[in-house]
Each structure stands twice: as C-alpha cells, then as structure tokens.
C-alpha cells in the first residue's frame, strides 16, 4: 500500500508539473500588495459617487476646432497618466479616453436620419465607472474593484492579465498591455506609475489628482465642457446640470448604471 501511495503521488506530481509548467512557482514570492494611496489629507476631494457629464454643446461648433479640443483633452489625460501612444501594433493600443462617432458610442441608438450636428460630430469615450460594473464582477483576483466613492479602481500589482474584465466590459473601456508600455510613454510623469507588460488598465478618474484636491486632467483641460462631481450630493454642480438638462448614458439597458452622462 505504501508503494501504491508513493507511486500515486509521483504520478500526480508529474502530471501537475508537466501541466502547469513553471508558471506558479514564483507566484508567492513576487506578489506585493499595493498600499492604499487614499491617505488622509484635507485637500482631498471626496464624494459618495463620482460622476461626469460630457456637455457636447460646450465644444466648438467648427469640426476642426472641435477635434483640436478633443485632442487637447486626450493629451492632458494621457500625459498625466503615462498612457502609451503609438504602439507597434495598432490593434493592441492602450487608451483611456478617446473619440468616436455617434453610431459607435451609442450603438443601437443611431437612425438613418440623424441630425447632422450629431451625425458629423465625434464624442469622447472613457470608462463609465459603472455603479454595477461587470468588470469587477468577473475579475478573479479583485485586481479591479469598486472604491467607496464609486471609482472603479485597478491594482496593477495584483492583476494576473487574464483579460476576463475586457470580455466583461460592455463599453470597450479596457486596454491590455500586450507589450511593455515604457518605450511608448513620451515625457513620463514621475508622479504616476508606468504600468508593466501583461496587466489591464483603464481610466481611473484621476484618483491621484482628487487626492491633491485637483479635478481630473481631462476636466481641467475641457474649459467646462466636462463636468465632474458627486452624484450623491443633490446640491453639487453636476446634479444641478443633470436636473436642468436632458442627458443620456451608454447602453443603459444592460443594467450597468454608468456614471458618465452625455448632453447631446
């Protein structure tokens, strides 16, 4: 019986070793939990649930000028957050905030007789920081999680790169670092980490700037076209804007409850 058990263990061992390769061996030692950056300080902006309104009326009417403003906003985000640009393979590009046409931003809401100003314009897209985020639901490691203030946060040191969250997000808001992003980050911002290869990333509502009492970089660069604030506070500016204007959100029928609103 003793030899039976030994042989059994041996075969179980061989199978496991062959099957899993060396993959798991280093795991335990290389894991370092990320310290919670949300330290107490007075300047810090707080909210029950952060949200954003994208007021399309406030962007310039002229299409070219409008593009320029969009690009300025995108540039503000990407340089603040060390988002790589110009990767070798375009299908593997990383983006946090970008622009696209109405029928792609609101698929299913287009019609053949769309108002010209809507049809011809592009819109800004970013992570919606959903109230019921499917990306958080599916992540097997809680590397993506929802903070108290509604921001859907990423722990880049915990993510195993399974990309389940990318399959889960109904908005295409997530990017995977297929290669090392370092070489593609121009003018590195030393105050924010550059991610490593093999992890997923996305817009984090500039949580690090909120920490310092500043608005997100895109909001600051938008001349008031992007309104950022506390959706839970009925007296906040964003709630006032939402009260006074008709707004839409992307794919509400999926029950994700996006926190990004559009005034078309």
């Amino acid at each position: 019986m003793g030899s039976n058990r030994r042989q059994f263990l041996r075969i179980a061992g061989i199978t496991t070793l062959l099957g899993l390769g060396g993959g798991i061996t280093l795991s335990a030692s290389s894991y370092k939990p990320q310290s919670d950056p949300a330290q107490e300080n007075e300047k810090r902006l707080r909210a029950g649930r952060w949200g954003m309104v994208i007021d399309m009326r406030k962007f310039p009417k002229d299409p070219e000028e409008r593009q320029r403003v969009f690009d300025r906003i995108i540039e503000a985000c990407h340089s603040t957050n060390n988002v790589p640009e110009g990767e070798a393979k375009p299908i593997q590009e990383v983006k946090w905030i970008w622009k696209d046409h109405f029928e792609h931003v609101f698929p299913g809401k287009e019609n053949p007789f769309l108002a010209e100003r809507v049809e011809q314009s592009e819109f800004l897209l970013l992570c919606n920081h959903c109230k019921n985020p499917p990306c958080v639901r599916v992540c097997p490691t809680q590397a993506t999680y929802k903070r108290e203030d509604g921001i859907v946060q990423m722990d880049f040191h915990r993510c195993i790169g399974c990309r389940y969250c990318m399959a889960g997000c109904p908005y295409g808001s997530r990017s995977f670092n297929f290669c090392d992003p370092g070489p593609y980050v121009k003018d590195k911002n030393p105050d924010f980490p550059v991610r490593m290869r093999g992890v997923v990333e996305k817009c984090l509502f500039c949580y690090q700037r909120l920490e310092e009492g500043k608005q997100p970089a895109c909001v600051e660069a938008s001349n008031g076209a992007l309104i950022f604030g506390d959706l839970d506070d009925p007296d906040s500016h964003i709630r006032q804007v939402l009260r006074e204007n008709y707004t839409v959100r992307r794919k509400v029928d999926l029950g994700t409850e996006p926190s990004v609103f559009y005034i078309v």
Partner: protein, 386 residues
C-alpha cells in the same frame, strides 16, 4: 506499476521523443512570449481572447470522455465499459492538464496566478472554474490510479472509491456548466449571452470527448493489441451520435432565434461567420467546413448500418471532431468579440507563436496521455484482460 511506462517498443520511444521535441520547440516560443508579452499573438484590444482560450473551452469538453463511460458502467451496470473506463479517466486527466496549460499560457502575468487563490473571489466564474477543473483532475487521477492498482494486485476495486466515482459524474457536468457560465453571463457579448450555452457545452462535450476517446482507443489497439471491446465501442458510438444530434439541434435553435427575431445584435455574428459582415470574412471558410462536416458526420453516424461499420465509423467520428473543434475551438470564443462593443469589426487570426505554443501544450497533454495509457494497458494485459 509506473515502471510499465519505462519499458516499451522502439515506436513507443520514438513517439515519446517526438512529443518531447515538440514541447521543447514550443517552449522556446513560450519563453519569447514571456519576455515580449502577448504582443506576439494576434490578439488585441477588441479580440482579447483567441486561440488559447478557444482550445481551453474545447478541451474542457474532451475531458467528458470519462463520464460517458463511468455513468453507464456504475449507474447502469454496463459491464462492457469496464475495460475502457480507465482509458477514459486517464484521457480526462490529460485533457484537464491541457485546459490548465492553455489558461496559463494566456495569462499576461502567469507568475502571479496564485492570486486567484490568495484573493478568492466568489463572484468570479473563473474562480469556480479553477475549482471544478482541479477537482475533476484530482478525482480522475485518484479513481483511475487506485482502481488500476487494485487490478494490478489482483484485488477487488477499493470500496472507498465508490462515493468518489458517483461524485465524479456530477462533477463532470459541473466543469462544462461552469465553463459555459464563464462566458454566458457577460452582458453585450451577443454570441455568448444565451441560456442554452451550458446545454450546448454539455452536448458538444458528450459527443466530442467520447469520439476522440474511441479514435485514440482504436489507435492504441493497433499498436498494443489491447482490445477495449467491440460492444463498448458500439454503445459509445451510439452515445456520441445522440449527443451530436442534440448539439446540432441546439445550434439550429440559435440560428432560428437570431434570424426569425431579426435582432441585429443576434444576427451579426452568425452572418459574419457564414457570409461575412461589412467586408470582413476571415472565418467564412471555416464556418462552412464546420456545417458540412457536422451534416456529413450525422449522415454517417445516424444510420446504424454505417455506424457499425468500423471504417465508416472512423470517418464519421473524424468529421464530428472536426465540426465540434471548429465550433468550439475556433469560432465560439473569437465570435464573442465580433463585432466589438462599438459595433465595428476587428478580425483575428492566430500567429505562429500561438500555434507553436499551442503545440507545446497539446504535446504535453499527449505525453501524459501516452504514459498513463501505457501503464494502464500494460497492467490490463498483464492481468489477462486483453
């Protein structure tokens, strides 16, 4: 008992060395992938899972080889499966190892994969999939090895295994169900968001797993003269046929729902498969080969006259494996990402890296299968079951 794997004919050793060579060659590509990242694959931000995960889903199905023997043998006392059951269980072991291998090579940060255990996340289907797959692996190793060892010592099968065997039947259903749940609960992935995804996984598994088992058993018979029994193969072929009919029926249900309802989200991907959409048509050829192979396999397998003819059976099974492999190992996963959430199409094709690394995983599974079967058949021949 394990020493049986160390004594073999020349053919056996040539085969082993061949598998080791494939593993070696593939691991060079894997090392490069580890260094450069998954950028060496054809995946991107739109099609973010590809060939690896598709092979994973297919081999979860192949692992069903065991249960289709265990169930009739232990619940319906079909003694004819006795000689084959160990082979089925060992094949399940190899299949699950292949599954795990494909998940690992798909990870961006494989050295962190134990984070799934350090931070168990009860709302993630991947967590449950990890549990059911490793459980199924263990169950099959324990059951098959101990039964075989008892036979080796010419003792009756240990009683304490009985509850584990019954558990393994239920457990087999769970691996397909949970793997289907992995994808069927995601909003906005139209191809996957269907309640019959899990039933489709089961049907596809119960035909493709035993079909591969029959073919491998026939190959083994040729090389080792170990006969798993005509009756066993005949009944198993019948089971395969019923499962394939169900599998095709469920697929047709999907077609009906999509096209009769005329809802674009449901139609798009199927149209993309069969005729191409907006000029993108990379998978059209594959889709039609799948359809043709599926229909032909049924034409051969349904009439018992053809099915009971050894050569015809072989052709039917090969067609069936081809059809189910294209369905699950190629179209199903990629199709979930087309069109992308913006309604545009990015096509996908695996790169040479993906194929070589996949070959490495396949060869690993085949090596395990060869060794386990060598031991099993060696023991069975020694005790005179052959």
């Amino acid at each position: 008992m394990l020493e049986k794997a160390l004594k073999g004919s020349k053919t056996y050793w040539v085969w082993i060395i061949f598998l080791l060579a494939v593993m070696g060659a593939g691991s060079i590509f894997y090392i490069i992938q580890l260094q450069k990242g998954l950028t060496v694959t054809g995946m991107g931000r739109d099609v973010s899972w590809g060939f690896y995960i598709a092979q994973f889903t297919y081999f979860v199905g192949v692992a069903a080889s065991a249960v289709m023997l265990v169930l009739p043998l232990y619940l319906h006392n079909q003694k004819k499966f006795e000689k084959m059951v160990t082979l089925g269980e060992f094949m399940a072991v190899a299949a699950v190892v292949i599954c795990m291998g494909f998940v690992v090579v798909d990870l961006g940060q494989p050295q962190r994969m134990l984070n799934m255990i350090f931070h168990p996340t009860l709302n993630s289907m991947l967590f449950y999939d990890m549990i059911v797959l490793s459980g199924y692996l263990l169950l099959n190793i324990i059951i098959a090895w101990n039964n075989l060892h008892a036979e080796y010592q010419r003792r009756p099968h240990p009683h304490w295994l009985k509850p584990l065997i019954y558990l393994s039947i239920v457990w087999a259903v769970s691996i397909h169900t949970v793997t289907a749940y992995l994808i069927q609960g995601l909003p906005a992935r139209h191809l996957w968001l269907t309640a019959i995804m899990a039933p489709r996984f089961l049907a596809s598994a119960f035909c493709s797993g035993p079909a591969i088992l029959i073919i491998l058993a026939l190959i083994a018979k040729k090389f080792t003269r170990y006969d798993p029994g005509k009756e066993a193969i005949r009944i198993l072929a019948q089971i395969v046929t019923y499962a394939m009919v169900t599998n095709v029926f469920l697929f047709l249900c999907e077609l009906f729902t999509a096209y009769y309802s005329n809802i674009p989200g449901h139609e798009h991907i199927l149209t993309y498969f069969f005729t191409g959409l907006h000029g993108a048509n990379a998978l059209v050829g594959w889709a039609w080969v799948m359809a043709a192979a599926a229909i032909l396999s049924l034409v051969i397998l349904v009439p018992s006259r053809f099915r009971n003819h050894p050569d015809m059976l072989l052709v039917g099974l090969v067609l069936l494996i081809l059809a189910t492999w294209i369905d699950k190992g190629l179209l199903l996963i990629v199709g979930g990402f087309i069109p992308n959430p913006m309604g545009t199409i990015t096509e996908y094709a695996p790169t040479g890296y993906e194929l070589m690394i996949s070959a490495m995983v396949y060869a690993t599974g085949l090596l395990i299968l060869t060794i386990l079967w060598k031991v099993a058949i060696g023991v069975k021949k020694e005790i005179g079951e052959a």
